[in-house]
Each structure stands twice: as structure tokens, then as C-alpha cells.
């Protein structure tokens, strides 16, 4: 398994051809306390860089972009009742899992991503 990051602050934890998608620690800090996560629909396809879903924090509603292209095969239903886990443990909380239709492109390793924030 390998974890990669997008410029728009999402991560993809890649295991074979399935990627779990979440948001970075930095994104979670910027958003402030998350109060609602709109879960994407299973079966829906999404393009790399396309809008995956939306999260609402005490500051604003913000789009979450998909770092990879493919079909959504699983969503983290626990976020419905406990959206705050996206704030408290963002790097270990996935929003959904995507079966990739193409190899991911243009993503950064953790070291590269952390460097890009400086």
C-alpha cells in the first residue's frame, strides 16, 4: 500500500487497483470543525480532479476532488453520524473507496506534499 497526495489536499491510499480517499491533516486544519460530510454514491464514476463530494465545516462548504479516476465501490457510512472524525483523525479516515480505471497521475508522495506546503 502506498499513500499519495493531490495539490488540492486529498490523499489516496492505494492497494492494488483500489484507492481509499481522504483529506490531509492540513486540509482538515484549514476547514475547521467538520459538521457534515455528503457521502458520494456507490457505483458513481468520477474523473481524476473531478468533484467527488462536499464537506461542510463551521466555516464553509468545500468541494472534495478525487485524486484518481474510477468507480466508487464503498463509502464510509460512519461519517454520516460522526463527521467530526474527519477533523480529529483525517489521515486515517477514508471518505470512500474507488476502483481505479486508470493509473493515477500527477500525485505527490507524502514527503513531496509536505514540502509543497512550506
Amino acid at each position: 500500500m502506498a499513500k499519495f497526495y493531490s495539490k488540492t489536499h486529498e490523499w489516496a491510499l492505494i492497494d492494488g487497483n483500489v484507492a481509499a480517499i481522504g483529506i490531509s491533516e492540513y486540509a482538515a486544519k484549514e476547514l475547521g470543525d467538520v459538521v457534515y460530510v455528503e457521502l458520494p454514491e456507490t457505483g458513481q464514476t468520477v474523473a481524476a480532479g473531478g468533484e467527488l463530494t462536499e464537506v461542510e465545516s463551521v466555516k464553509a462548504a468545500s468541494p472534495i476532488y478525487s485524486p484518481v479516476a474510477g468507480k466508487i465501490i464503498e463509502v464510509n457510512a460512519a461519517l454520516e453520524d460522526a463527521p467530526e472524525t474527519l477533523s480529529s483523525d483525517p489521515e486515517n479516515t477514508f471518505i470512500c473507496k474507488i476502483e481505479m480505471s486508470a493509473a493515477p497521475e500527477g500525485l505527490m508522495t507524502e514527503a513531496e506534499y509536505l514540502a509543497s506546503l512550506k
Binding site: E30, D33, V35, Y36, E51, E56, V58, K59, A60, A61, S62, P83, E84
Partner: protein, 473 residues
């Protein structure tokens, strides 16, 4: 503070004689099923309750209100005088048009003035608010495309747009396509060229943009959208910066909504009432909702445009707001309107210059508002835009809009408007500098701000997650 339902019942004072009215009222059975537990209080208790509530609120009559994008200008009291005239308050919307000459003339005159200000050829006064105006205009745009045998599905919306734009487009049945910003926070022209196609119904744009910057490429943008067969829609939220100076119609826009409650000084905040008239170019006039007010000789009449999209509101829109807006337009007149816009721009630039060292914003001149970024302060001290906003409350200043637009980190969006005096602007700037100095010296203090309000820091997560909008009676 108690809710009015929480007071112990109090009796009316005995020295007031009972009403002389006699007789029995017959209440049908279905009306007796619910026991109404209404508060039974002496008049003095009620009066004091509401007076206390009003002291807990903050309005534009209490102090400066630089809430960006909302144009919280002072509302001249002469507007209230006009709206309280008996000829306006004692009429009923179901009366015949020919018996309502004055009200009809007012609506016609206001429509003509708004056409002149926006450079449009037709207008509807029906929409009750800005977003309602957006929805109405999008329905008109959809009807226009359909009348030409086309069904265009996409609405282009810049990423810095007001949230109402994509929301209105979605409600009107369109697919929303995000247009990215370029490095100057304007529309990315190359991206627009790629996105505008034969499925594009319209581009929704506000000019000046949400960053308070004039969209310099507006002609290029209009050409690209028109070239693809799409229409140009002007979100009038920021008209206050250019009112009477440049006209959306001359910038290439085909339809526009105005927020009379912002730009034309009807009171707003707290949920309304608003008014969001829509203006359109001649080729869209036939699609306007009905009724529109027309003139035949000396008589004013309600008309139904040939291909009207139908009604969008009961009767004629929020009439009392229309009166206030017309009073405002007539009192400023042809010279006052552009002068007010120029003063709004001058005030914003004055405040921007005074605070630019501590509250950095985009270099150069702004229009009627500017967006400061508190990112550096947050990094150095942990004090956020939200913390600064809370501290401003203790200075008697309403905070600016924060965390919007999303394209700027730790955004604070200031719009002082033309109605604030130089002394008030100096006071705002002085207060902001003091707050900044505290942030550098004692960032921990901000956790407690504001200190002067009945409620200090509400639990924002609970407020957003567990909304309770009713009282248990």
C-alpha cells in the same frame, strides 16, 4: 434572557377598565381541538421584553457594519417615511390596477429607473430576493434557448462566485460547471474557452468580482460566451461599486438581477424582506414573468408578455421594498447615484490603505470592497480571521465577512459602503490596529473574545449540527 413563553403569567393591571365590547363569539368545534398556550402577560412586560431583545441585536443604526458582499449601507429614514404613506400602506394587492394609479406609477417609474441604471430594456419587479432573481433569470434564459429549438444544459460559474449562483442554477435544472480563476483572481480566459460550448446556456458573473476587483477582461469573456451561443448573466450583488458609472448592459450582459435591499438601501439582514428585480435585453422581454407594469397613454396597466415564463411570486413582489428603493433613487438622482458608487469605492480604498500593513490584501486599487488574508498572522500567532472578527464585536463594529471567498485563506472581506464617515473609517482602522497589536502580544486573550456580548463564544459545531429552531411551549 428568558423566552417570552418562560415568563410567569401576569395579569393586566386592574385600574384599566375592561373593554365595553359584549356578545359571544361562536367557535366551530374544529377550532376548539387545540389548546393554545399563549403567553398571558401584562403589556409592560411584553414591551420590556422586546426592548431588551432589541438591545441585544446589532444593526446598521447601532454602528459600523462592513460586512463584505452584503452592502450594509445606512438606510435613510426618508425611505421609511415614503413607505409609511397611507396611499401605500392602505391598499390591497387585489384592487383593480386602475384604482391604484400611484402604486402603478411607482412600479413603472422604478422599472424605468432600473432599466436606465442597468442598461437593460425590460424589467420584472416580482422576485423577492437576489437568489429568486437569479432563478427567474435562468428560467428566462432556458425559455429563450428552448424557443430556438435548443436545450442547453450547462451554466458556467466562476470559482469565486457567490454560493447562490451554483445553487440557483441547480434548482433551475442546469448542470453547474466551475470556471477556475487566473492568478489575478479574474476568470481564467483559457479555461473559459475550453468550457464554453454548444451546451452552455449562460455564464453567471458578478463584476466587480467577489474580491472587489473589476473584471478587466469582461469584453473578452462576453465574446467567448456569446460566440458559443450562450448568454451573459450579471449577478448584481456588487453593483454598488459601479452604479450609475458603468452599466451591465454596456459590458455585454443580457440579463441582470439587482438586490434592492443592498444597493438601493432597503433594510436587510435577519432574513428579509428583500427584492431582486430582473432586467433583460430586448430579445428576452417576451419571456419575463407576469405581470409587468406597462403604460398606455396616461394609464398604467398590468401586462402579460407573449412567451412569459409565468408567475414567480404572488402579486407584484415585495412592494414595500420597491417604495424604499424608489425613494432612494429619486433622492440621489442622476448625479447622486454615480457619486454614491464612487464614494463607496473611495471609502473602501481609504480603509484598505489605512490597514494594509496589518491586514494585507491584493495590491493596487480595489472597488467597493477588499479581501484581507490573515494567513501570516495565523501562522505566527495562531490568531485566526474568526478570532479577529470576535474581537471587533467588543469595539462596537460588526465583523466583516470571513472565510469568503474560499479562494483566499483566512479571508476577511471588508465593505465599508459610502455611508460611513471618515471619522468612522478612522475608528475602524484604529480598532483593527489595536486588535492586531494584541494578537502579537497576547494571542491567548482571543480565546475569550467577545467579552461584551450576552453570549460569548457559541459552540459552532453544535450550532451547525444540532439545530433547534423551535421553543418547547
Amino acid at each position: 434572557m428568558k423566552l417570552i413563553f418562560e415568563y410567569a403569567p401576569s395579569k393586566a393591571n386592574d385600574y384599566i377598565p375592561a373593554s365595553g365590547a359584549e356578545g359571544k363569539i361562536s367557535v366551530p368545534d374544529f377550532g376548539k381541538e387545540i389548546k393554545l398556550e399563549l403567553p398571558e402577560l401584562a403589556e409592560v412586560v411584553v414591551a420590556r421584553h422586546y426592548a431588551a431583545l432589541s438591545r441585544m441585536a446589532f444593526g446598521v443604526d447601532d454602528g459600523a457594519y462592513p460586512l463584505g458582499s452584503c452592502t450594509m449601507k445606512y438606510n435613510p429614514k426618508i425611505n421609511e417615511y415614503a413607505a409609511s404613506l397611507e396611499g401605500f400602506t392602505d391598499i390591497h394587492p387585489a384592487e383593480r390596477a386602475k384604482d391604484l394609479g400611484g402604486a402603478m406609477e411607482l412600479m413603472y417609474g422604478l422599472g424605468e429607473a432600473l432599466k436606465e441604471i442597468t442598461g437593460m430594456d425590460g424589467v420584472t419587479l416580482s422576485p423577492a430576493a437576489g437568489a429568486h432573481g437569479e432563478y427567474t433569470a435562468l428560467r428566462i434564459i432556458d425559455a429563450y434557448h428552448r424557443s430556438r429549438g435548443e436545450q442547453r444544459k450547462k451554466i458556467l460559474v466562476p470559482d469565486s462566485a457567490h454560493g447562490t449562483n451554483p445553487a440557483s442554477a441547480a434548482i433551475a435544472g442546469f448542470e453547474v460547471v466551475n470556471v477556475p480563476s487566473d492568478s489575478d483572481h479574474g476568470v481564467d480566459i483559457e479555461a473559459l474557452k475550453r468550457l464554453a460550448d454548444s451546451d452552455t446556456a449562460a455564464l453567471m458573473l458578478t463584476n466587480p468580482t467577489t474580491l472587489g476587483l473589476f473584471e478587466k477582461n469582461i469584453s473578452v469573456i462576453a465574446n467567448i460566451v456569446h460566440g458559443a451561443g450562450g448568454l451573459m448573466y450579471y449577478d448584481g450583488a456588487n453593483l454598488n461599486a459601479v452604479m450609475g458609472v458603468v452599466r451591465p448592459g454596456d459590458m455585454g450582459f443580457d440579463a441582470v438581477h439587482l438586490n434592492l435591499h443592498k444597493t438601493f438601501s432597503a433594510p436587510h439582514g435577519g432574513g428579509g424582506p428583500g427584492a431582486g428585480p430582473v432586467g433583460v435585453k430586448a430579445f428576452l422581454k417576451d419571456f419575463l414573468p407576469y405581470p409587468v407594469v406597462g403604460r398606455r397613454g396616461e394609464e398604467y396597466v398590468f401586462e402579460r408578455p407573449e412567451k412569459s415564463i409565468g408567475k414567480v411570486n404572488a402579486f407584484y413582489g415585495n412592494f414595500s421594498v420597491l417604495i424604499r428603493a424608489y425613494a432612494y433613487i429619486l433622492s440621489l438622482g442622476k448625479e447622486g447615484i454615480p457619486l454614491s458608487a464612487k464614494t463607496a469605492v473611495l471609502n473602501a480604498n481609504y480603509l484598505k490603505a489605512l490597514i494594509s500593513a496589518e491586514y494585507p490584501s491584493a495590491p493596487g486599487l480595489c472597488m467597493h470592497e477588499f479581501v484581507a488574508s490573515m494567513e501570516n498572522l495565523k501562522r505566527e500567532t495562531g490568531v485566526t480571521a474568526s478570532d479577529i472578527a470576535k474581537a471587533m464585536i467588543d469595539k462596537g463594529i460588526h465583523p466583516p465577512t470571513i472565510y469568503f471567498p474560499l479562494t483566499v485563506h483566512e479571508a476577511m472581506m471588508f465593505e465599508p459602503t459610502e455611508t460611513e464617515t471618515k471619522e468612522t473609517l478612522d475608528y475602524i482602522a484604529g480598532s483593527l490596529k489595536e486588535i492586531y497589536a494584541v494578537a502579537l502580544k497576547d494571542p491567548e486573550a482571543f480565546k475569550k473574545f467577545p467579552l461584551t456580548t450576552p453570549v460569548g463564544r457559541p459552540d459552532e459545531v453544535a450550532a451547525a449540527k444540532d439545530m433547534r429552531l423551535t421553543a418547547d411551549m
